[in-house]
């Protein structure tokens, strides 16, 4: 079981969280102008990264806040977690 650092609550067991998959996918604003393929890309296509992967996590059995994480999909190590919107320069929490 992973240990995940919620940006608001600190380090907690994975069982308190759920993973929301790839982060930073923006919903297209004018969806009706998109081709079937472009819309399908948004709905279905996800990166299958080997290495550092940006993903969304939800502290479901805790503060119920969503946040972003950079996690290595090979080693399962979290590089950092940070509030959504904080981006690269934002307030972040290292893995330890």
């Amino acid at each position: 079981m992973l240990q995940i650092t919620c940006p608001w609550c600190g380090a907690r067991a994975e069982s308190e969280f759920s993973c929301g998959g790839e982060a930073d996918i923006v919903r297209p604003l004018e969806s009706e102008t998109l081709s079937d393929e472009a819309w399908g890309d948004y709905v279905f296509m996800r990166k299958n990264t080997k290495g550092v992967h940006k993903e969304q996590w939800f502290h479901a059995s805790g503060c119920r806040r969503w946040f972003n994480a950079e996690r290595d999909t090979v080693t399962y190590q979290f590089i950092r977690t940070y509030p959504i919107g904080a981006g690269a320069s934002g307030d972040s929490h290292g893995a330890d």
């Binding site: 929301g20 969806s31 709905v43």
Partner: protein, 998 residues
């Protein structure tokens, strides 16, 4: 019965406390401190098992967790444990066990005949032989499973209690031998929070079987000193009888602590096993090493044991397992066993393939006059139920070089060197590294925050064990920022040792498979010949060889034999051992009981049970319940012995003809507040919400981004910026998560707050033509006149003296109201409504009636009539899809696939036989089927007998169904019949919808 092999003095046992036990129906005596294995050996019982496949006689081979043979079915009934290792079972008074895999008895095993046909059933035999005809496989399987086996699963419920505990610590030390004790002591001295877990009842590890002197103290006195000092450190916790069975991600280690297994059954109370889940900042692995067997012909005869096991029985348990012993070793360590046996009074001969050994132990052995045959190997063992003689061969340049006579013996102690116990290190993600000089795998680079110390790190001398452990503790403390204590310098006399001679397979390579079996994996009956065969047949990856031969499966997971097997494979393939590699070490290190894994999450505690505030009323009124998600909902209320059919018919007709009441408190309720609430609803639902007036209700469909329906419900506008959303009972949490996710991740600028209020409100549906009259009797401050309180609107008022929200909505098609009151007052209001409705025969109804009523109206239930692949268009609800706005899932409704006309669409089905109720899930076909392949057109999603229509009805999804009303198709039944049905609109009753508008 006399313990003929018991040594008069010494050992960690208490001869003053005799214990009676039963094995295979015979009664024996052991003493306090024994294991079942040591007690059996004390009674000269070596033959304790039949092997898995060939049913060969087998004996106790080890003294620990790596035991492959001595598996027993322990106790019976509620205490039954299959495949318990006799070497780990602490003896208690009255213990009762029997051998596994031997019927009717160990001595008269029916399948012992397999030994005679062994050469015809090598590895892969079953795969090759039982492939065809395919349909016979179930029969083959029954036979094979009966023949090849381990213990039997208990059939009686386990009455013991199990527990779980979570813990955090600075340093977790795994193993209570000299390395673990030293490391824990240093870490404890630094003030670190330390947990030391050891799988034995007493600490000491290898010192329990080896003579040692530390700081001038005998080894076990040093252990006692360290143990008492650890006990005095407040931050140090020592767990005995506790096996660390898993090393998970992020330094989470799982420990199974056995609390009562060592006690007589009658004295057991409280928790049997406790699983610890320990998140450790640092881990020090001090898990020791397992001795390797040697691979020679008939090396599985009872009386053939590992040398360290023999020493354990002699020194720790005061048992001399044999009186005429041969010690066959390729290293110096086993000379200690020769000395132990000699001192205990046995006649001992050492057989050593090396040309000489100058180490201290061999010198001591020679000084005592123990005969040592150098340049010699044991190539063959004889004896049936017990080894009686070994054949010796001269050994030169890695090959047998001629006969060297034979020795009579009743015990053979073998040692092929030691394998560090790398299981936890490997589970942590670390890769093992082959150490050529020590001829074993040792830990490579650490991946997690762990460090290995002692024998599991390849340090086999006590001096190096202790210094390595101190350094491991020091490193861990430094990394965690602890000030170092004064480090101890325990003095240990270093022993001179000659290197071992790797010896993986004794015997001529060209005769492998043509002489008696040379076992590699005892538990799975894998011999050297099987590995040769696998290699010949093209299985070159160790993982493939494992699966072809079964080497490394079973309860011991190859602890004893795997390294020998890999080395033999490496030689066959002409490659090095590191090139061959190891198989994957997976948790659990040793088997863990299901009880321990489940803990208290059993039965009613498996999942939360949610009950409405009216639950007791329902029980008092005879309701039968059904589970909807975690909720208990009344299913129906039988009266006077009614069955489901009769009760539901009565309840349905009461609603259609007068009035009924349903506890709908389980519907999900989400309170939505804020200036942007309407914007959020416009995103979530397919229909528009901006123009909904305050005091009005609206039905909404929620789609995922793939355009498929995932929830529905009625939302009421309570105020300009305040809505109450209802969701399906099972979907409440999912919908709230969905909404929160969008709000937090995509539209954080929206000013909306969401609060779940499902449990706060009791909700009753009062349904039927008399519902208005009932409510009027208990509520005077709401005008129920049809125009004043129209369909799909909401009023605040006082119902039975309680402030209530009343919605005029209907899931039955009748005139109906939904009354919401604070849950704490729910029962009072419900009872007042029941009393007010008595004159109309108000009838409580359950979910089954609710289902029938809504199906008569063609109302869907999300999750029953939809399955995640159904769009609003498929449901015939395209009218609810707004053209003016974007919403979640909208764009997907315009993909070519969602626009297909032959998608499965919601329809009604009427069986031509109006009494026949179709099975839900039944497949729709165009023609009656008579076996063979038939295209499936769709399936039945809901099916009931409608009391008001006096006929059966069904809802279904069917390809192109919306344009096929009036057609006749068939529903294929499991029994081969095909039922003719007419496709129709899913609205069966009150098609114009007048009844709910009265």
């Amino acid at each position: 019965m006399a313990q003929t092999n018991r040594i008069p003095q010494g050992g960690r046992i208490n001869r003053a406390v005799p214990l009676t036990f039963h094995f295979n129906g015979k009664t024996y005596q052991g003493v306090e401190g024994d294991t079942l294995a040591s007690a059996l050996l004390a009674n000269d019982v070596h033959f304790v098992a039949r092997s898995w496949k060939y049913h060969r006689p087998r004996g106790i081979i080890t003294a620990g967790v790596e035991e492959p043979n001595a598996l027993v079915q322990l106790e019976s009934g509620a205490y039954e444990v299959p495949n318990a290792r006799a070497t780990e079972l602490e003896l208690y008074d009255g213990l009762s066990a029997k051998s596994v895999n031997a019927k009717p008895s160990l001595e008269n095993d029916r399948l012992a005949v397999n030994q005679k046909i062994a050469r015809f059933i090598p590895a892969g035999f079953y795969y090759k032989t039982f492939m065809w005809p395919q349909k016979m496989w179930p029969k083959y399987e029954e036979f094979i499973r009966e023949a090849a086996g381990l213990g039997e699963a208990p059939t009686v419920l386990d009455t013991d209690r199990y527990d779980k505990r979570y813990a955090h610590c600075d340093v977790l030390v795994v193993g209570g031998g000299p390395a673990g004790l030293a490391a824990a002591w240093v870490a404890g001295r630094a003030g670190a929070r330390v947990i030391l877990a050891d799988n034995q009842p007493e600490l000491g590890g290898s010192l329990l079987r080896q003579p040692a002197s530390i700081d001038g103290l005998p080894g076990l006195e040093w252990v006692a000193r360290i143990e008492s000092e650890l006990a005095a450190m407040p931050e140090v916790q020592v767990l005995r009888r506790s096996t660390v069975f898993g090393y998970q991600d992020h330094n989470l280690l799982t420990i199974c602590e056995r609390k009562t297994d060592h006690l007589p059954l009658a004295r057991r109370q409280g928790v049997r096993e406790r699983v610890w889940k320990v998140r450790a900042q640092r881990v020090i692995l001090a898990t020791g090493a397992h001795e390797r067997p040697l691979v020679f012909a008939n090396n599985d005869r009872p009386g053939v044991m590992t040398a360290s096991a023999v020493s354990t029985y002699v020194r720790r348990f005061g048992v001399l397992p044999g009186k005429r012993a041969v010690v066959f070793t390729n290293n110096d360590q086993a000379y200690q066993t020769a000395l132990d046996l000699y001192e205990a009074g046995a006649r001992v001969t050492v057989v050593d393939p090396r040309t000489a050994s100058y180490g201290d132990l061999p010198q001591q052995a020679r000084r005592r006059g123990i005969e040592v045959k150098y340049g010699t190997v044991v190539s063959h063992a004889s004896g049936d139920l017990r080894v009686s003689r070994v054949t010796l061969s001269r050994y030169q340049g890695g090959r047998l070089a001629g006969d060297a006579g034979s020795l009579d013996c009743d015990l053979l102690a073998m040692s092929g060197g030691f394998n560090p116990v790398l299981h936890l290190f490997a589970q942590s993600g670390g890769k093992a590294r082959w150490d050529e000089q020590k001829a074993c795998f040792v830990p490579g680079q650490s991946v997690q925050a762990e460090i290995s110390a002692g024998a599991c790190n390849g340090d086999f001398s006590l001096a190096r064990v202790l210094s390595g452990a101190v350094q491991a503790a020091r490193r861990s403390l430094e990394l965690e920022g602890f000030a170092l204590p004064r480090l101890p310098a325990w003095s240990v006399e270093e022993q001179g040792e000659a290197p071992l001679l790797p010896l993986w397979l004794v015997g001529d390579r060209d005769k492998v498979g043509r002489s008696d079996k040379q076992f590699v994996d005892f538990q799975n009956d894998v011999s050297a010949a099987d590995i040769y065969l696998a290699a010949r047949e093209g299985y070159h990856s160790i993982e493939h060889v494992k699966r072809y031969t079964a080497m490394g499966f079973g309860t011991d997971q190859g602890k004893l034999g795997n390294i020998n097997g890999m080395a033999i494979l490496a030689e066959v393939l002409g490659q090095s051992i590191p090139e061959t590699g190891t198989t994957t070490f997976r948790p659990n290190f040793t088997p863990v009981s299901f009880g321990a894994i489940a803990g208290r999450e059993l039965g009613d505690y498996l999942d939360p049970i949610r009950k409405t505030c009216l639950h007791e009323w329902h029980v008092e009124h005879g309701a039968l319940f059904e589970d909807v998600g975690q909720w208990k909902r009344p299913w129906y209320f039988p009266r006077n012995g009614e069955d489901l059919h009769a009760a539901v018919a009565r309840e349905c007709l009461a609603v259609r003809n007068s009035v009924g009441m349903l506890d709908a408190s389980t519907l999900g309720k989400i309170d939505i507040q804020g200036p942007d609430a309407t914007t959020l609803l416009n995103w979530l639902y397919t229909n528009p919400w901006s123009k909904l007036e305050v005091g009005k209700c609206r039905y909404g469909l929620m789609l995922d981004e793939n355009g498929m329906v995932f929830d529905d419900g009625v939302t009421t506008r309570l105020a300009e910026h305040h809505f109450l959303m209802t969701t399906t009972t099972g979907g409440a949490a999912r919908v709230l998560n969905w909404m929160e996710r969008w709000l937090q991740t995509e539209w954080p600028h929206l000013k909306v707050h969401l609060t779940t209020v499902t449990d706060h409100w009791a909700t009753f549906a009062v349904a039927g033509p008399n519902s208005r009259r009932v409510l009027q009797k208990v509520c005077s401050d709401i005008d129920f006149a049809p125009q004043a309180f129209p369909f799909m609107s909401y009023r605040n008022g006082t119902v039975a003296g309680v402030a209530a929200r009343v919605m005029r909505i209907s899931f039955s098609g009748e005139l109906a109201y939904e009354v919401n009151v604070p849950a704490n007052l729910g029962r009072k209001v419900w009872e007042a409504l029941m009393a007010a409705g008595a004159e109309f025969g108000i009838t409580p109804y359950g979910t089954e009636t609710m289902h029938v009523l809504r199906a008569e109206k063609g109302y869907i239930i999300v999750g029953q009539d939809t399955d995640g692949s159904v769009s609003p268009i498929d449901l015939g609800m395209e009218g609810m899809v707004s053209k003016a706005k974007d919403f979640l899932g909208k764009r997907s409704l315009f993909r070519s696939d969602t626009r297909r006309h032959d998608r499965k669409q919601l329809v009604g089905l009427k069986p031509l036989d109006p009494k026949f109720v179709l099975p839900e899930g039944g497949q729709i076909v165009a023609q009656p089927t008579s076996g063979g392949m038939t295209p499936m057109l769709g399936h039945v999603t809901s099916s009931y007998f409608s009391p008001i229509l006096a006929r059966s009805i069904a809802m279904a999804v069917m390809k192109g169904g919306q344009s096929r009303h009036g057609e006749r198709v068939y529903v294929a039944l499991r029994d081969g019949r095909s039922i003719e049905v007419e496709v129709c609109s899913p609205v069966f009753y009150d098609v114009e919808g007048g009844r709910q508008h009265v």
